[in-house]
Structure formats: structure tokens, C-alpha cells
């Protein structure tokens, strides 16, 4: 099946359209079935993926607008493969854990549409196609936040939409400018990423384009100071919205850095490591502090996402295989872990309709399983070895250490500050005596919640202990990426900074 990737992208779309025909009562089962099928499809993709090859696989290329060089051009490599799988997994889990009663049908169909865009973003090799999915992903998310959100849902949804939209428009200009430069150098129009990789740009052009792309990605990530939409979006979104938002949508930004900024503008990327790193450090430290100040559990996790994304960005700009592969892995692990944490917050929200920490305390007594899973996820979030969180964080920091030890030490405070706010949440929520009478009889996790969470726990441990099946392909593709960057680099600084790993020359091609 050579067009499996196309099927993977558009299956939820078709299924979503057919979903309109399904009866309200059975829609949940339908949603789970479709999402499960999609997830299995993505697993099949992995099974048929040649893990030893570094390049793009399952490539399909059909002309869409040949006049303007736009193709339906998709494919995955080690970097994107797992993000795709994570997207399908988190959608499945999100649907399984859905606790929404009203308009369930709309929710499930919307989630399926969202899945299309998520898979599409990560599988696109044509920049316009990428942009198309990228932008459209906002729409289902807008609906999810706006329709099922909290009291300030409209503000949050619209803010989320417009903020991200504004950033990506600037990126669109960057894309068009790049295409123009490509056209003026080669005489043909092309938006194919692989074509673009071959283009050498002068440093000035790289700089401008780098920042144009940066703005689009930075708002999505979100990087300081463009992050303020995120707490609102998370704070107001329903559980499943937060899960998908944190797990997948934010990753689009960092994925963009890896897929676009670095290989397209190697010199500019190297030249602006310091400003980017400083922003990342602010994200790491400052947002960790803000997270500590929160009183709402969900907000803590929202801000913690920003903090972790800082580490991811840092790893990306390490310009070596360790850092970049680490950041890609951290994207996965953060997706799983923060997704799980949001699910967990949703659990108590469903029971008590509040997320304020002072309304809880001593939950470990009444909800032991819940507390256990929360604890495991917390530990993964603070990067405990043998959980999924450690591998990526360690590699990212290790990678960036090569670039700047001092900055890495500052960024490394994330392991301290992360522990500070996460443990505070645990302490306030789960420990101590039960202060509110009604909390004594809160029911522990029920079946559907366990079905959603236990697989995540299993993944957290499995990939923490044995990340190789995932890390291997990421490693291969990252080596090729770094090799490419090194070859493309024109300035001496970039040549020095981009460090090709010793055994990559053989494997890259």
C-alpha cells in the first residue's frame, strides 16, 4: 500500500463526514472506532517504515498547482513519523476519555477533522500544503474551545485563533519570499521542501526569512513573549482540547523549527542562537516561576508546557544531533506527558467542576489510583530517568551544552524549578488532610479514564526505559539533517557550530 500516508491523512476526514450520519447515541463508539483505526494505521506506518533509512519515506507527489509549483507532496522521516503517531494516539485517547455530554457528535467530528490537520502538518513536504493544514488546524480548535470551554471561552478561543493566525501570516510572507528567491535563482516555482533544502541563500536573506518563519513558529510554540494566549486557551478549553493543544498543536511550532528554520537557514539559525536561547531561557525560568504562582492546577500545567517548550527550542538550536534528536524526542514525551496531565486534571474537574488547588487536598486518600498516575506523570514531567521525560530533556540540554555551558546551566534549572511547581501541585492537591468533606467520597478513576490513562503510563515507562525504537529513526534522520545543514552552511561560524556526528557521514546517504 504505497499511498498509506494519504489514507492516514484523509481517513478521519471521510470518517468525520460520515459521522454526521451516525446516531447521537452511538457516536462515541464510532469516534473511538475511527480513531483506533487511524491509530492502528499509523502503527502500520511505523511497522512498514524502514528504520535504517534517513530520508523521506512513503513519499507521494502529485501536482496540485503546477503553474505555481505547488504539489500534493507528502512523506515522513524519522522526525515526523513519531509525531504523526503521537497525534493519532492522543486523538484516540482524547476521544476515549471524553466526558462531554452535550453535542458529543459535534465534538467527535471536530476532533476527527482536527486529526486530519495534525497528521497533515507533520506529513507535508510541500510548504503550502503544510501551511494549509497548519492554518486549518486553528478552526476545529477554535470550535472546541469556544463551544465546550469555560466561562471565558470566547475570549480565549478568539485570542488563540487570531494570535496564531497573525503569526503564521508573517510566516506566509516568509514562505512566499523564499519561493520568490527560489524562483529567481532557479527559474522555476517550487514549494517542495526537498527542493528548498538545496537552495543556498545569502546571509541577509536568511536573516529576514529566519525571523519571519520564527514569528510564526514562536507564536505557535509559544515562545516568550508571545505566550499569553496559551494559559487562556488551556484554562478555558475542555479537557480534550487542552490535551490535543498541548500534545500536538504546540509541537507544530517546534517541528517547524526543526523542519524549516534549521535546514533552510543554517547560517542565520547559527547566528541567532543567542537571542533564541535567551528567549528560551526566559521561557524556562520565568514561566516556571509563573507556573509556581498559579492557583489553578490546569494553569500550572499550561505554564509548565511553555517552560518545557523552552527546553525543546533550546535543544533544537543546539545544532548537533544530540540536541536536535533530543528535542524531537522531548516533543513526543512532552506530548504524552502533558496530554496525560491535562487528562488527569480533567478527571477532577469532571467530578468537582473546579480546578483550584485550594479546593482539594488529601486526594491521595480518596483517589489512590488517580494519585498514583498523577504522580507518575509528574515524575515524567520533571524528567525522572526511566520515564519518557528524561531522555529528551537530557539530550536537549546535553546538546545545547556544546553550544553554551553557561546558558545550559541556567536552562538546567528547569529540572529544579519544574520539580518545585509540580511537587507543589502534588502536595496541595493530593497530600495533607482532606480539607473538604465532599472530597472524601470522590470516586476514583472509572473505566474509560483508566482506558485512556493506562496506555499513556505504559508508554511513559516503556519509552523511558527503552527509547531505542523511537530514538533510532529520529537519530538517523537527524543525522542526515545535521549533515545537510553542515553542507549548506556558508559562514565559518555556522560550519563550526553545526557539528556533524562522527558516524553520520556513512549513514546519511
Amino acid at each position: 500500500m504505497s499511498n498509506i500516508l494519504t489514507v492516514l491523512i484523509f481517513f478521519p476526514l471521510v470518517a468525520g463526514l460520515f459521522g454526521f450520519m451516525v446516531n447521537q447515541k452511538s457516536i462515541r463508539a464510532y469516534g473511538i472506532a475511527v480513531a483506533a483505526a487511524e491509530f492502528l494505521l499509523s502503527l502500520w506506518l511505523w511497522m512498514s517504515f524502514d528504520t535504517s533509512a534517513a530520508g523521506m519515506q512513503f513519499v507521494e507527489k502529485l501536482p496540485l498547482i503546477p503553474e505555481f509549483g505547488i504539489n500534493y507532496y507528502i512523506g515522513v522521516d524519522g522526525i515526523s513519523l513519531f509525531i504523526v503517531i503521537m497525534s493519532t494516539l492522543m486523538t484516540l485517547i482524547g476521544i476515549v476519555a471524553l466526558s462531554i455530554k452535550e453535542n458529543l457528535k459535534n465534538m467527535i467530528i471536530t476532533l476527527l477533522f482536527l486529526e486530519v490537520t495534525m497528521v497533515g502538518v507533520f506529513a507535508s513536504l510541500d510548504v503550502i500544503l503544510f501551511y494549509l493544514f497548519w492554518e486549518f488546524s486553528l478552526v476545529p480548535m477554535l470550535y472546541i474551545i469556544g463551544a465546550w470551554g469555560g466561562p471565558k471561552k470566547l475570549y480565549a478561543a478568539v485570542k488563540f485563533f487570531i494570535y496564531t493566525f497573525a503569526g503564521s501570516l508573517v510566516m506566509l510572507i516568509g514562505i512566499l519570499a523564499f519561493a520568490y528567491l527560489y524562483h529567481s535563482q532557479t527559474g522555476t516555482w517550487s514549494f517542495s521542501l526537498t527542493d528548498w533544502y538545496a537552495l543556498l541563500l545569502p546571509f541577509d536573506a536568511q536573516t529576514w526569512l529566519f525571523w519571519a518563519f520564527f514569528l510564526g513558529f514562536a507564536i505557535k510554540v509559544p515562545m516568550f513573549p508571545f505566550h499569553t494566549w496559551l494559559p487562556y486557551a488551556h484554562g478555558q478549553a475542555p479537557t480534550v482540547g487542552s490535551v490535543i493543544l498541548a500534545a500536538v498543536l504546540l509541537k507544530m511550532g517546534t517541528y517547524g523549527f526543526v523542519r524549516f528554520s534549521l535546514p533552510l537557514f543554517p547560517d542565520a539559525s547559527v547566528a541567532y542562537i543567542v537571542p533564541v536561547a535567551i528567549i528560551s531561557l526566559i521561557m524556562v525560568v520565568y514561566t516556571a516561576m509563573v507556573a509556581y504562582a498559579q492557583k489553578d492546577i490546569k494553569q500550572v500545567i499550561a505554564y509548565s508546557s511553555i517552560s518545557h517548550m523552552g527546553v525543546i527550542v533550546l535543544g533544537t538550536f543546539a545544532m548537533n544531533v544530540e540536541g536536535i534528536a533530543g528535542s524531537v524526542f522531548l516533543m513526543l514525551s512532552h506530548g504524552i506527558v502533558s496530554g496525560a496531565l491535562f487528562l488527569l486534571v480533567g478527571v477532577i474537574y469532571d467530578r468537582k467542576h473546579t480546578k483550584m488547588m485550594d479546593q482539594f487536598g488529601g486526594l491521595a486518600y480518596s483517589m489512590p489510583t488517580y494519585a498514583t498516575i498523577f504522580g507518575i506523570m509528574t515524575m515524567a514531567a520533571v524528567g525522572l530517568p526511566l520515564t519518557i521525560g528524561f531522555v529528551g530533556e537530557y539530550l536537549s540540554l546535553a546538546g545545547f551544552f556544546k553550544v553554551s555551558p553557561v546558558l545550559t546551566v541556567i536552562a538546567g534549572t528547569s529540572i529544579i524549578l519544574g520539580a518545585v511547581y509540580m511537587l507543589t501541585v502534588l502536595k496541595k492537591t493530593f497530600f495533607g488532610p482532606i480539607t473538604h468533606e465532599e472530597n472524601k467520597h470522590l470516586p476514583d478513576l472509572d473505566g474509560k479514564e483508566l482506558w485512556a490513562l493506562v496506555p499513556l503510563v505504559a508508554i511513559v515507562v516503556w519509552l523511558g526505559v527503552y527509547p531505542k525504537p523511537v530514538l533510532g529513526p529520529i537519530d538517523n534522520s537527524t543525522k542526515a539533517l545535521v549533515q545537510l545543514m553542515h553542507e549548506k552552511a556558508q559562514t565559518d561560524l555556522a560550519k563550526q557550530t553545526i557539528s556533524v556526528s562522527k558516524n553520520s557521514a556513512k549513514e546519511a546517504k
Partner: protein, 631 residues
């Protein structure tokens, strides 16, 4: 051999998982028994490995699987059992076994009995990973693992509420657990940085390869690595200024204190320094710094122990103090001595703690020694065990502590670091004093507990049988000093005493024993007859300084925690909301305001529309003129 290694390593894991299966059910005695057995299996395997190594001094390597293989980084789950590891393994599993068995008694009425065993075994597993790993990152796994288990176990009684410092200086178990975890994290960052430096400069993290290629590193770099690794060690071993968590960690169940906060985990820092001896040997200035810090901590902690009324805290400070001794030895290059003291200390300190556990049980979790006294009558066996352990701790011949501690003093003397020697010597006296102050306050004198209506009772007999190995080792371990030295120095550098020291040995022994004995005697005279409180002393500045731990916890709270919380609030409410977010909203509002202003022009009156049309002609003319003017 590999199989033995894996048995030793994974038996605790199996134990933990097994217990975890029952975590939410009623107490199940089976869990305790199986867990204890499995740890026992691990001990047997470790001991076998130790004996094996004693005969055939070739280190055993095992490679389980790949872990992180990225770029040039190739980290595997690799394990090695060499002399140092074997000693550590044996000590850890032995103490663990005893503690597991003991916990069957101690936790028998706890509703989370099963959960406790799960955590405890998980800790043993982490500790095994820590000591058995053949690379720094593997060590880091264990390092963090023991941290988490410590967090879980310290906060085991999570349901207790926060108290003020006056009521409970540790505030609450969950608070203490968090403090411990976070402080350790600070140090872990140092360790991590050390690991990064090693990786980027040597391209590998395996001990063998790292230590074989140390000559590739510049001196400065080695100093940096040494310091970074030692920062990691400082956290785990609670060295100043990261020491406050250890005393607070006494909030955990006493077996935990015995195992984690006395015998094993806190010695991980010492283990790291010993493990990295090729590195520290090349940078003696850092070693000297370590020794000085260790010495300082030794007397610093001992001084706090002098006045504390809390049974467990005294032992905790004593642990801290003894860790200082170990660092002093290691820093001075006498690695095997440090390891020896580590092992000896593990035995008698665990014993001391477990004895204290008996007392606590008897006293219904009352920890204030001023409320005890005269317990000898009810708890003779406990008195015996604790007395033995205290003697060992005080360094009285022929108990284990005598050999190990005296050797450290000799080393200090031998290195001509007389200052260190003197302080350690002084500390030895203080150690003897507070140890026996404790023993006498608890077991001798008037029966103050009666006032509080407590009816103490002795523990079961089988508990004492279980504790017997520790007691025996506390007594006889010292006699194996020569054998131990031979065994350890197959791996660690041999430490040669100079001629001069050899001559002085006897004098040193006498001097040391003298101060120890005088400490005991002082304690006896002061406390054996009963508690006579002197308000003048208790209100003196020095006393209050010591009993408030030099005000350091309060200092940390006021200088770090509170400002951090305040700063966080400022960051959130003043910066994030009022500046960053307000800017974004401000832009949006400005645009909307612009819309409101410009729609004023659209006033519905045709006449003004026509005026605007005319004005448009002028406007385009102006634009054209401006365009010309600019170009």
C-alpha cells in the same frame, strides 16, 4: 556471574512490582514476607559476588541493552561489579534485608503496609542501579531513582497536615519530602553538568573509558568536572549548604530513615567520589576542598546534635556528621578508608535507627527525648542494641566505628592537615557525647514518660533476631579492616601511611579514645541520673542557635522560598498579566479603538461624504507630492 548480577539487581524490582500489585488492597502479610525474601535473595547474590570477587579480582561486566543511542552518544544499561560495587551492593542489600524484615514489625498496623514495601523495594532497586551502573548516566538513573523513592517514603504519611515550625520543625511529611527532592535536584543539576562536560570532552560516559582517557583533559576542565560531580554528591549526601533536608527527612517512617537516610542513599555522594577517584586523585586541590567541607560538616552537624531533643533528628545529625568524616577521608585520598567507614557506619547507624524505631513504637511515636527516660526497664534488648550502636558510633574499641573512624583521623594526621585532624578529633568527642546523651536520656534516669500516660512495650523477639546481623557487624566489622583494605585496594588506590604516622598511631588512638570516653562520661554525669533542665543554658544564644539549626532553615525560607514565591507572583500578576498580556490586548484594543474613531467620519451625512470625496483628491495629490519628495 552475569546471572547473579541480574538476580541481585532485579530481585528488588520484582519485589517492588509484586508489592505494587497489592498497593491498594488491605494489608497482606504475604507482601512483606515475599519482599523481604526477595531482598534477601538479592543480598545472597551480592554477597556471593563479593566472595567471588575476593577470590577472583576481575570485575564482572554485563550489558543489558541500549538505552540512549543518539549521535555519538551511546549509553547502555551496562553494569559492572567490581570491588567497590560489591562492597556497596552487599552493604545495601544487607541493610535492606534487615530493614525489610524489620518493617514487617514496624509497619504492621499501617494501612499502607503493602505500598510501603513497594516503595522500599523500589528504593533498593534504584540504589542497586546506582552502585552497579558502569556509566555516569546509569548512575544518574539510580541517583534520581533513590531521590524519588526517598520522596515517596519521606512523604509516606502524606495525610499529615502542615504545622508551624514551632510544633514540627519539619512542617509535615509531604513538605519534608518536597524539600528533600528539590534540594537534591539542585545538586543533580551539578551532576548533570558534570556528565555533560565529560560527554562533550571524552565522548563517552563509561567509567572505564572516561578514567582511561582523563589525560586528554586539561587541568582546569578536570577541576570543573570534579566540582560539578561533587556538587551532585553534596546534595545526595546532604553536605552543607544542602543539608537541611536530611533532618527534615526524619518525617518518614523510621525504617526509611534507617535505610535511606543513614545507611545507603546518603552515602551515594561518598560513593560517587570514591568511584571517581582517578579524577579526584589528579586534582588534589579539589579533594582538599572536599575534605575541608566534610570536616566542617562533621563538626557543624555534631554541634546541632548536642542539644536536639528529637530522637531521630539527633541520629540524623550524627549521620550528617559521619558523612563529613567520609568526605574528609575521600577528599584526602584515602578512598578505601572512606568506603570502610561507609560500610561500618551503615551497619551501626541502621541499627541505631531501628532501635530508635522500637523506642518510637513503644512511645507511640513520641520523639521528644525529654519525655522519655528509664526505658531500660521495659526495653532491655533495645537498650543493648542501641548502646552497642552508640558505642560503635563513638569509636570505642573494639567496635567497628573505632577502626574506621580512627583510620580517618590517622589519615588526616598523615596528610599533615592538622586542622582537619583536630576538628575531627573534637567531633569524635562530641559524637560520643550526643550519642550517649541520647542513650541515657532515653533509657536511664527517671521515667518521665509516665507523666504522659504512655505504656511502652518491647518489640517482638524476632525483631531482635532480625537486627542481630547488624549488631554483630557493628561489633566485629572492624576486625576485617585488613582484609577489607586488601580487597578494596584492588580497585582503589592504596593509601600508605608515612613512617611518622606509624609511630604516632598509638598516641593518636589513645588521644581519640580519650576524648570519646570523656564525651561518654560527660553525658553520663549529665543525663544518666535523670533530666535536669537548666533554663539559663537553654536560653543562651549558643543553645538556641544550635537547637534552631543555626537558623539556616529559617534563613532558607526567608531568603529563598519566600522571595521565590513573591517573585513568582510578581512574574505572573505584574509581568505576565499586566505587561505581556496587556500589551497584546492593548494592541487589539488600539485597533478596535481606531475602528471606533474612524467610523466617526462615517456620520451618515451625504454632505460630509462629498467633502471626503473632495478631500480625497487633495489626499492623493499630497501622496503624489510626498512620493516625489521622498525620491
Amino acid at each position: 556471574m552475569e546471572n547473579l548480577l541480574y538476580i541481585a539487581l532485579f530481585a528488588p524490582l520484582v519485589s517492588s512490582l509484586f508489592a505494587a500489585l497489592f498497593a491498594q488492597s488491605q494489608k497482606n502479610l504475604l507482601v512483606g514476607i515475599v519482599a523481604s525474601l526477595l531482598i534477601g535473595v538479592s543480598f545472597v547474590a551480592s554477597a556471593t559476588l563479593l566472595l567471588e570477587l575476593a577470590q577472583n579480582p576481575k570485575a564482572i561486566h554485563a550489558n543489558l541493552m541500549d538505552w540512549i543511542v543518539v549521535g555519538d552518544m551511546d549509553v547502555r544499561f551496562g553494569f559492572t561489579v567490581d570491588q567497590v560495587t560489591a562492597v556497596m551492593m552487599t552493604v545495601v542489600t544487607l541493610v535492606s534485608t534487615v530493614v525489610h524484615i524489620y518493617s514487617n514489625y514496624y509497619m504492621e498496623h499501617d494501612r499502607s503496609y503493602n505500598r510501603f514495601f513497594s516503595y522500599l523495594s523500589a528504593f533498593v532497586f534504584s540504589m542497586m542501579v546506582l552502585v552497579m551502573s558502569d556509566n555516569f548516566l546509569g548512575l544518574f538513573i539510580g541517583w534520581e531513582g533513590v531521590g524519588v523513592c526517598s520522596w515517596l517514603l519521606v512523604g509516606f504519611w502524606y495525610h499529615k497536615k502542615d504545622e508551624t515550625r514551632d510544633v514540627n520543625p519539619s512542617i509535615s511529611p509531604s513538605w519534608a519530602a518536597n524539600e528533600a527532592f528539590i534540594m537534591n535536584r539542585i545538586a543533580d543539576l551539578g551532576l548533570l553538568v558534570g556528565i555533560f562536560m565529560i560527554y562533550w570532552n571524552l565522548g563517552t560516559l563509561r567509567y572505564e573509558e572516561v578514567f582511561a582517557h582523563l589525560d586528554q583533559l586539561s587541568h582546569g576542565l578536570m577541576v570543573a568536572i570534579g566540582i560539578a560531580l561533587f556538587i551532585g554528591a553534596m546534595g545526595k549526601s546532604a553536605q552543607f549548604p544542602l543539608h537541611t533536608w536530611l533532618a527534615d527527612a526524619m518525617e518518614g517512617p523510621t525504617p526509611v530513615s534507617a535505610l535511606i537516610h543513614a545507611a545507603t542513599m546518603v552515602t551515594a555522594g561518598v560513593y560517587l567520589v570514591i568511584r571517581a577517584n582517578p579524577l579526584y586523585s589528579t586534582i588534589p586541590e579539589v579533594g582538599y576542598g572536599i575534605a575541608v567541607l566534610g570536616t566542617f560538616v562533621a563538626i557543624f552537624a555534631a554541634s546541632m546534635a548536642l542539644v536536639n531533643r528529637d530522637l531521630k533528628r539527633v541520629i540524623a545529625y550524627s549521620t550528617l556528621s559521619q558523612l563529613g568524616y567520609m568526605f574528609a577521608a575521600a577528599g584526602l585520598g584515602a578512598y578505601w578508608v572512606a568506603l570502610f567507614h561507609l560500610a561500618a557506619h551503615a551497619f551501626f547507624k541502621a541499627l541505631l535507627f531501628l532501635g530508635a524505631g522500637n523506642v518510637m513504637h513503644a512511645m507511640h511515636d513520641e520523639l521528644d527525648m525529654f519525655k522519655m527516660g528509664g526505658l531500660k526497664k521495659e526495653m532491655g534488648k533495645t537498650f543493648l542494641y542501641m548502646g552497642l550502636a552508640s558505642l560503635a558510633l563513638s569509636g570505642i574499641y573494639p567496635l567497628a566505628g573505632f577502626f574506621s573512624k580512627d583510620t580517618i583521623l590517622e589519615v588526616a594526621f598523615n596528610e599533615h592537615t592538622y586542622g582537619i585532624w583536630f576538628v575531627l578529633w573534637l567531633t569524635a568527642g562530641m559524637t560520643a557525647f550526643y550519642s550517649f546523651r541520647q542513650v541515657f536520656l532515653v533509657f536511664l534516669g527517671d521515667e518521665r514518660y509516665k507523666k504522659y500516660g504512655i505504656h511502652p512495650h518491647e518489640a517482638y523477639n524476632w525483631v531482635f533476631i532480625a537486627l542481630a546481623p547488624l549488631a554483630i557487624l557493628a561489633v566485629i566489622f572492624g576486625f576485617w579492616k585488613e582484609e577489607f583494605m586488601h580487597f578494596a585496594t584492588q580497585m582503589l588506590p592504596v593509601y600508605e601511611m608515612s613512617e611518622h604516622t606509624h609511630h604516632m598511631v598509638w598516641i593518636l588512638i589513645i588521644v581519640t579514645t580519650a576524648i570519646a570516653v570523656s564525651g561518654i562520661l560527660l553525658a553520663y554525669f549529665k543525663y544518666a541520673k535523670g533530666l535536669k533542665r537548666d533554663p539559663k543554658v537553654e536560653n543562651s544564644f549558643a543553645y538556641r542557635l544550635l537547637s534552631n539549626q543555626y537558623y539556616i532553615p529559617i534563613l532558607y525560607e526567608n531568603a529563598v522560598s519566600k522571595p521565590y514565591a513573591d517573585l513568582s507572583n510578581i512574574a505572573w500578576q505584574a509581568i505576565d498579566m499586566k505587561v505581556v498580556d496587556a500589551t497584546v490586548d492593548g494592541i487589539a484594543k488600539t485597533i478596535e479603538k481606531g475602528g471606533d474613531v474612524s467610523r466617526q467620519a462615517q456620520d451618515g451625512n451625504l454632505s460630509s461624504y462629498l467633502k471626503w470625496l473632495t478631500a480625497g483628491l487633495i489626499l492623493v495629490t499630497l501622496i503624489a507630492v510626498a512620493s516625489v519628495a521622498i525620491k
